[in-house]
Point group: C2
């Protein structure tokens, strides 16, 4: 087994779809994903998983019901399980997301932005 | 509760000790840590946790017994649980590490590089 580094920049170059997280690694039952986001996501929460965001390129905002957390490149934020949130980006932003394997991107909110939760790249 | 972004660069500016991982966030029973490394670490493994490395600044090598994985900025690698490894950096490298809360940096190898596993910054 030849193990390779996972180069986030190379992985990001492999897709252009927005709001469609791609899994790049698994560790301890968690998935590490990359997503390209622009505009406003739907309000949702994840009942069973905290969710970690780390901005790789650009700027985004994690909106909670009572506050907005602006994130730039190299900034990290953890949305606790059960807390309603949505992500917003004025221009395309590239973000690394960590949550438990099987976590649906839209939680129970559903809708057209619901992504395939097992999309490896 | 006013939630704040976690700025990795700001956190890195708060300490200078090498081989002394600082916890910056917790999610689903896992710790996200920052470490400054230079030189060679001790060979060890973690029996209960995969370990994720993401290079924030600089270059490092994750050595396994049968191969070496060079990582630059923005490169990620997962060492599976139970796999012997050590990290090596010719010059100081800043790395984000994710593993299960309570994971000891030196595994069962112990020795002088064993760090306090509950060192938040």
């Amino acid at each position: 087994l030849k193990r390779e580094p996972i180069r986030l920049r190379d992985k990001l170059a492999l897709f252009s779809e927005q709001w469609s997280p791609k899994i790049v690694a698994e560790a301890n039952g968690h998935h590490i994903k990359l997503a390209k986001i622009e505009g406003e996501f739907v309000w949702h929460s994840h009942e069973d998983s905290d969710e970690v965001f780390l901005v790789v390129h650009g700027e985004m905002i994690v909106e909670l019901r009572d506050q907005a957390i602006p994130l730039g490149e190299g900034d990290l934020f953890v949305v606790p399980k059960g807390v309603e949130h949505r992500t917003v980006a004025a221009r395309e932003c590239h973000v690394m997301v960590l949550n438990q394997a099987g976590t649906v991107n839209t939680g129970k909110a559903g809708g057209p932005l619901t992504a395939d939760g097992d999309d490896w790249i």
